[in-house]
């Protein structure tokens, strides 16, 4: 690795020659503030917050984009630098809707943080605040351009990472704003709802459609039974919202907190329906392989990916597994099996999923998923952030809660269900089960080849004389490339796992927002994933079919995978959608 030597504030550092000044400064333990820069997403040197001085260089340099050079002498804290950054902040604030107290990002806002650090005067420039309409028509994301600082991180996430580009910068001058073509609501565009724009936003311009109030109302209604279930990745991220280190597994405290939200509340484990998904999906895969069905089979648990196929590759819909997602399966199980078993009218059950994802809010409203024609199976889908807000509002001291167990009967799950939250996890869990269907004595449980950070992981397994070729990717930009290869016959697989968000659900659009210093310098995806793989390793059961809850529900209710009852409640259909419109 070729390195260069430079000085940051007179501190000598040696760094790889590909580094920027921003990265080099970090080596000297100096943090340069950023706003428009976001690692792996956006590097346009536009906001001018990261400016620094350098010896023998004219003007101020944008540290996020300026490459290091041998002998460069950088100064990050001079009067000129401080003045420039402060003025930049004051200009940004001059057209910013400064309603900070009621802002969803209050105390968790990059602009606010810098405003405090630089001691800015928010009234330094007298201007009119812009008045843009707030777009809250979609069931998953709200856009408030009055808070937007035009950093373009959301636009870059949508275009560069996800390859969708349903949002962009519109108009020019003071009328510039981020929006969709012809200023349509996000709801009328082919947005897939992944929410990568939301977790890229440094301020409060983008957030999930908040639904906590509906849940509070249900909890306050004594006639209702409020049934929560939490997706596999929530336990690995919820702690961050309470200041705990990234990658802390807070399953026990999370359960304790949910149970304390109300007397009529139960907390179930969605890892169970991850197991259930695998039973159905692995059987579907074996069925497709044996009977010449459409291959490769695409996983269908990620609602962003499913909507992506519907909009952009409708001709590939037959490749999607017909299995509902774990969220949708749980909704169906609760409104059917659970109600029958406990003799409850499904109308008196209020189902709340806690998911890492904004697209799941859309999924919950899909008419194809209803078990009964009159109402949705999942009443409200809450993001990790919304659950954290509910816990805070309930006055619970999260860090000091005891560890508690999920409520019966949906309390037990396998390691296969746990790893659903990380890219490659669904495929690995499916392989564990499919291998066992094909060969009853198959022993391998760890399929390391499909884990890890590589963009596309491919593997081939021989099971009972059958060759099974698989591939995994995450991020829709990567997914598009893989689908194109499959379409053009350049790659053939039996099963392909795709998650819309890079790294899978642990990096979902509904996860706790990260500070820029974390996004840009910490491998938070690896830390969050590790919490899941560690739990898998020590799980009592690791193959989904070994779960006692799975055995119970097939014995008592579904009988066989892919047949009558399971087909009705656990499988679904898809619709071809337009690539320019809703």
């Amino acid at each position: 690795m070729e390195t260069v030597h430079l000085k940051i504030n007179n501190i000598p550092v040696e760094v790889p020659k590909e580094y920027t000044i921003l990265q080099a400064a970090k080596e000297a333990n100096i943090e340069i503030p950023t706003l428009c820069y976001l690692k792996d997403v956006n590097c346009i040197g536009a906001c001018r917050i990261c400016v620094v001085e350098a010896k023998n260089r004219r003007g101020l340099l944008a540290a996020c984009a300026y490459p290091v050079e041998e002998g460069l002498e950088v100064f990050t804290n001079t009067p000129a630098v401080r003045k420039s950054r402060k003025t930049t902040l004051e200009l940004l604030l001059s057209t910013h809707h400064k309603k900070c107290l009621s802002c969803i990002r209050n105390q968790n806002c990059e602009l606010q943080k810098l405003a405090i650090e630089y001691g800015v005067d928010e009234d330094a420039f007298e201007t009119e605040e812009p008045v843009f309409p707030i777009d809250d028509l979609s069931p998953y994301i709200v856009r408030d351009d009055n808070k937007c600082i035009n950093c373009m991180r959301c636009v870059a996430a949508c275009k560069n990472v996800q390859g969708i580009s349903v949002i962009g910068a519109m108009n020019r001058g003071f009328s510039v704003h981020v929006g969709s073509a012809f200023d349509k609501s996000l709801n009328d565009t082919p947005c897939v709802g992944c929410g990568q724009c939301v977790v890229s936003c440094p301020v409060g311009a983008l957030y999930e459609k908040p639904q906590e109030e509906k849940v509070w109302d249900a909890i306050a209604n004594p006639k209702k039974k409020v049934l929560f279930f939490t997706a596999p990745s929530i336990k690995a991220t919820l702690g961050e919202a309470f200041g705990m280190p990234i990658g802390t597994n807070v399953e026990g405290k999370m359960v304790a907190a949910i149970k304390r939200l109300g007397e009529n509340v139960k907390a179930f484990n969605m890892d169970f329906t991850a197991d259930l998904t695998i039973i159905e999906e692995a059987n579907e895969l074996v069925e497709r392989i044996k009977n010449g069905g459409t291959l490769p089979m695409f996983t269908s648990c990620c609602p962003g990916w499913v909507k992506f196929v519907e909009h952009y590759y409708p001709e590939m819909i037959p490749h999607l597994s017909t299995c509902k997602s774990p969220q949708a399966m749980f909704g169906a199980v609760l409104k059917s099996y659970y109600c029958i078993r406990n003799n409850i009218d499904p109308k008196n059950v209020f189902v709340v999923s806690v998911i890492p994802c904004t697209a799941k809010k859309f999924e919950a409203t899909r008419p194809q998923l209803r078990s009964y024609p009159e109402f949705d199976d999942v009443d409200v889908a809450l993001t990790t952030r919304e659950l954290a807000r509910m816990i805070k509002r309930a006055g619970l001291d999260f860090a000091n809660l005891p560890d508690e167990d999920f409520d019966a009967p949906f309390n037990k799950a396998t390691g296969g269900g746990v790893i659903f939250g990380a890219t490659g996890g669904v495929l690995e869990a499916a392989l564990r089960t499919a291998a066992r269907i094909l060969d009853g004595n198959f022993q391998k449980v760890d399929f390391e080849e499909v884990r890890g950070p590589e963009v596309v992981r491919e593997a081939t397994y021989e099971v009972a004389g059958v060759t099974v070729k698989v591939a995994v990717t995450s991020g829709l930009g990567n997914a598009r490339k893989l689908v194109e290869k499959i379409k053009n016959g350049e790659a053939d697989y039996h099963m392909v796992e795709i998650m819309a968000c890079p790294g899978g659900c642990i990096n979902g659009g509904g996860q706790p927002t990260r500070s820029d210093s974390v996004s840009n310098f910490v491998d938070y995806k690896a830390l969050r994933s590790k919490a899941l793989y560690d739990q898998d390793k020590t799980s009592e059961f690791r193959v989904c079919d070994d779960s006692p809850v799975i055995k119970m529900i097939y014995d008592e209710y579904f009988k066989e995978p892919g047949k009558e009852k399971s087909h009705h409640y656990l499988h679904t259909s898809y619709v071809a959608r337009d690539k320019h419109y809703k």
């Binding site: 580009s165 962009g168 012809f182 565009t189």
Partner: protein, 168 residues
């Protein structure tokens, strides 16, 4: 209003646009020249045309729209049979061009940049037509009208409306 004006693109126009797209498709930065020619072909860039451009170049509609709204040379609304252009240059402005523009807008019931539903009139503003001695000035098609007052504006427009056999 522009939204009420149905898109009247012809087969020939579409063919021309497809040729333009095919010619530019592989070039870096193809969007700008394609939009230029598309506006030449159709006179403006309605959603139907922008969608054809997006499909043809394999980019999203929001990317096309972003560029189309960045450059003031591009118009998203059709131009009327009679193109009215009110000068908002310095000399005209100090002589009350804003009142002239307001009167035109009031009279026709549309805003600057828009076109009447019957497709007869469109209003734009411009910066100096080189007739500052006559300020404030407006042009209707190629005709220049100077030393305007709101009252005069009404009379001039009435003449065109009468010619078209309508009442406003």
């Amino acid at each position: 209003m522009a939204d009420n004006i149905p898109f009247k693109g012809t087969q020939e126009q579409e063919q021309q646009l497809l040729e333009v797209i095919a010619k530019n498709k592989e070039l870096p930065g193809a969007l700008l020249p394609v939009l230029h020619e598309a506006q030449e072909i159709y006179g403006y860039l309605p959603i139907e045309v922008q969608q054809m451009v997006a499909d043809g170049l394999g980019i999203s509609l929001s990317e096309v729209y972003g560029v189309a709204t960045f450059y003031s040379r591009f118009s998203l609304t059709p131009k009327g049979k009679h193109k009215i252009s009110v000068c908002l240059g310095t000399a005209c402005y100090v002589k009350g061009a804003d009142k002239v523009l307001a009167e035109v807008e009031k009279k026709l019931g549309i805003k600057s940049g828009e076109c009447t539903a019957d497709g007869l009139f469109s209003i734009d503003s411009c910066r100096c037509v080189g007739a500052c001695g006559l300020a404030p000035v407006m042009m209707v098609d190629e005709e220049v009208y100077g030393k305007l007052t709101p009252d005069l504006v009404g009379k001039i427009l009435d003449k065109y409306i009468k010619e078209e056999g309508g009442n406003k």
